[in-house]
């Protein structure tokens, strides 16, 4: 049930028809071979006798071009494909058929996003896999290439969601056929904005890619190319973090808007709540940027020389944590209406009214719940272990704060479990689970890259914990151990209560639908 997206399967069937599939494959390979040949020829013309320089240049250029091709196929072409598919379906009216099915809005959204771009993903995979050839050919390092591709995928998902929202309820007859590519024009605008140093350019992966792909540069901040870093509040943050903030914040609003608008035919672009949310985010970003610029006074020539802007690991961990919490809050908000809905269903059930329930969706409850339980327990065990090994700094106030944050995080995840459980119980799909997996995957990957980047293998174990509030360098002390024990007891208690709650919910579930 995890990947039961009927729309995706139907689109996949269409795109896997032999003629279409072979055409996609041939076109992709043709582009690949053509570009490789041109590159080889060009490099050979310049360095026919110097093997070392030849491979270095060929490998690097090959990797760069593969990254650009990934962007062109997945982000640009993919966005136009999503937009045209949704507009065509709106025009023909078939989208109404999908709306009338008991599929949740999430299922429809992901069905459209992943289904209509299936062949685009095939081409992208080919470019992505071939791009690895650049690594042994002295191109860009493996992890940089991987991270760059990952950023392209993230930005693509953002733009696909944008295209979906943009095209919902807007048939071709009203907008004109040219508007299929309106998302592509949007790209052009933001790319131009990037070159004019406007923040909207950070919606593309280019600023991050420029930072990452620089020679001698690390993925995180460095003093050599700090011109690429973003002053935000009191810190310089790497462009990819800023891009992530933009993608998550705006992407979630676009997602909510699509989710709402995919249910009914007539609906405003943004609801009141979404508008307020949007306004808050814009305010947060604008204030952050203005404060950053005023406080840090980015005189770039000065910054480049100064080693003081080398930000510590703690800051990135803190930032990642904020991102996790931010996305979790969004998830919690998402589950809130469902919780209310379920209460209503309970009342109706008590009154003896008939409730419709799609029993065959029950199986994904287990998957969803298992993922969450495993994740939460992993956080708990690893963080407790780390705190017990006494790696905390010996400042009381700081420790108390950390414990508070830790407890609130645990509480929060408990809420999250409950929300997701209720969400599922109503018969929805398990996208929330997927989002969580995504975050539990993304953040550890970031840590691994960071650990590799700063060449500190001790930091590698951070990657196992999505909640590494307690992982800080410092000397062990008795106080810290006490705090850690306290923390352990409290979180255990919370977990136990959550378990009881879950057990009760399970019994209710059995009584209701058993």
């Amino acid at each position: 049930m995890l990947l039961e997206l009927p729309l995706y399967n139907a689109f996949k069937r269409i795109q896997l028809r032999p003629t279409r599939f072979i055409t996609t494959l041939v076109l992709t390979l043709f582009v690949l071979i053509f570009i490789t040949f041109i590159l080889w020829f060009d490099t050979y013309q310049k360095y026919p006798l110097y093997t070392e320089i030849f491979f270095k240049n060929f490998g690097r250029n090959f990797s760069y071009i593969m990254i650009i091709l990934q962007f062109l196929t997945l982000t640009l072409l993919g966005t136009a494909t999503v937009e045209s598919r949704v507009r065509l379906d709106t025009t023909s009216g078939i989208i109404s058929f999908h709306k009338l099915t008991p599929l949740s809005p999430h299922n429809l959204i992901w069905g459209y996003i992943l289904g209509s771009t299936f062949e685009i993903y095939i081409s992208w995979s080919i470019f992505f896999i071939f791009g690895f050839l650049g690594v042994p050919l002295k191109g860009i390092p493996f992890y940089k290439y991987l991270f760059s591709s990952f950023l392209i995928v993230l930005s693509s998902i953002f733009f696909h969601i944008f295209a979906l929202m943009n095209s919902l309820g807007r048939p071709l007859i009203y907008a004109g056929r040219g508007s299929i590519l309106s998302s592509s024009f949007f790209f052009v605008i933001i790319i131009i904005s990037f070159f004019h140093k406007l923040d909207i350019g950070f919606l593309t992966p280019f600023p991050s890619l420029f930072g990452i792909l620089q020679e001698k540069n690390r993925i995180f901040l460095n003093s050599y190319y700090s011109i690429l870093n973003v002053p935000f509040f009191y810190f310089y943050i790497p462009p990819f973090v800023y891009s992530l903030i933009l993608w998550i914040s705006f992407g979630s609003i676009f997602y909510f808007s699509s989710k709402r608008r995919i249910i009914y035919e007539e609906n405003p672009f943004f609801s009141k709540k979404e508008s307020i949310f949007l306004l808050c985010i814009i305010c947060f970003l604008v204030i952050g940027r203005i404060t950053g610029i005023l406080n840090l006074n980015p005189d770039f020539s000065f910054v480049e020389k100064s080693p003081s802007i080398e930000t510590k690991a703690e800051f990135y961990i803190f930032l990642s944590k904020i991102i996790i919490l931010f996305s979790s809050i969004i998830l919690l908000l998402m589950t809130f209406p469902r919780r209310l809905d379920l209460i209503r269903q309970f009342i109706r059930k008590k009154r003896g009214e008939k409730i419709f329930w799609w029993e065959n969706e029950a199986s994904s409850l287990i998957i969803n719940f298992l993922i969450l339980i495993i994740s939460v327990f992993s956080i708990f065990i690893i963080d407790t272990y780390v705190s017990l090994t006494g790696l905390l700094k010996s400042c009381w106030l700081e420790n108390i704060l950390r414990i508070l944050i830790f407890i609130s995080s645990m509480l929060f995840f408990n809420f999250l479990i409950e929300g997701c459980r209720l969400k599922f119980e109503k018969g929805a799909d398990n996208i929330s689970g997927l989002i969580i997996v995504f975050w539990f995957l993304l953040i550890p990957v970031s840590y691994i890259i960071y650990a590799l980047n700063v060449e500190n293998p001790k930091l590698l174990f951070m990657s196992f914990s999505p909640l590494p509030f307690l992982i800080f360098t410092g000397k062990p002390s008795a106080e810290i151990r006490n705090s850690a024990f306290l923390c352990l007891i409290i979180t255990n208690l919370i977990l136990f209560l959550t378990f009881l709650f879950w057990k009760k919910a399970k019994i209710d579930f059995g009584e209701k639908y058993g």
Partner: protein
């Protein structure tokens, strides 16, 4: 026995930007009824059906389907309603069975049962032989039948059919009519909209006349036809060219008599169907030869004009 109300619409109003598509729409549909929504183009039929199918938000009013409030419980309603729009939207690149499979999985029909359900529907709608054809290769009539099959895939309690016969040739219409009769007999509640009166005449049990976004008249055909329950309308054709009105003048049960054409007469008598043999005896005793006798009911067309509707298409 009290009939179960399946759909209840009260004071429905739908506003678009500059147009009031529906206003003060009120009607009730009972379980097992085939309700014909008749009216010219732009009368508000499609809007009403879209609101009932939960696709369109309305400005105000109160709508209940099987006791569910359409605004709050739209998800439950979507599970029990099947909607068929006037133009069949399909994916031309999909095969016939694949299209039905898409909706079988969308409606969460169990995997093991999907194919058998699809085959049953393909057989019902005479599409089994075309199951492996691409939808783009089908005729308009076949597409219409495919959509009807798709609408029934989750076995909905209520069917909302918006102009199902539009764009079909006479053969296609006949076939579709037969299919709809079959559906009607299966006990499902059907609302069918059309601007072609004769299309609905054969199988509708009740009707709602719509014009300029308003329901002018609605109810069971028998009830709104103007024939009181305790009376029977008879169409009588006799051999002789005589004035029947004069001959039947002294027959006490006659309520009304009028000549339609030639030797054909329309007679309204007191009592139910059992009064007809008595009338036959009375007429034959007078030495008149009866060529044809038929119990009449008022057709939709007559009801339509009686409702005060002015625009006919």
């Amino acid at each position: 026995m009290k009939e179960e109300i399946v759909i209840e619409v009260e004071n429905l109003r739908v506003d678009f930007e500059n147009v009031v598509a529906c206003k003060n729409v009120n009607f009730k549909v009972y379980k097992g009824e085939i309700f014909g929504l008749v009216g010219p183009n732009g009368a508000g039929k499609t809007t009403t059906l879209k609101v009932l199918s939960t696709l369109l938000k309305y400005t105000w009013g109160k709508i209940k389907i099987f006791g569910y409030d359409i605004e709050k419980d739209f998800k439950e309603i979507r599970k029990i309603v099947g909607f068929m729009p006037d133009f069949p939207p399909v994916y031309n690149e999909l095969k016939v069975w694949e299209f039905l499979y898409l909706y079988a999985s969308s409606y969460r029909i169990e995997k093991e049962k999907r194919m058998s359900r699809i085959e049953a529907l393909l057989n019902t709608f005479n599409l089994f032989e075309k199951r492996n054809s691409f939808i783009g290769e089908l005729s308009r009539g076949m597409k219409q039948r495919l959509i009807l099959a798709k609408t029934l895939i989750h076995d909905p309690e209520i069917l909302l059919l918006d102009e199902p016969a539009s764009g079909l040739d006479p053969t296609g219409r006949k076939e579709l009519g037969e299919m709809l009769k079959k559906i009607g007999k299966s006990g499902k509640t059907v609302i069918i909209s059309s601007h072609i009166l004769t299309e609905l005449a054969d199988f509708c049990t009740s009707v709602g006349i719509m014009e300029k976004g308003e329901i002018l008249l609605y109810g069971k055909i028998d009830e709104i036809s103007g024939i009181p329950k305790d009376k029977t309308l008879i169409r009588l054709r006799i051999k002789e060219n005589i004035d029947l009105k004069e001959i039947l003048g002294d027959y006490q049960k006659i309520e009304k008599i009028e000549k339609i054409e030639g030797n054909c007469w329309k007679i309204l008598i007191k009592g139910d169907e059992n009064s007809i043999p008595e009338l036959i005896k009375f007429v034959t005793d007078k030495g008149i030869s009866i060529v044809e006798i038929k119990k009449e009911k008022e057709d939709i067309q007559t009801i339509y004009f009686k409702s005060g509707a002015k625009y006919v298409t």
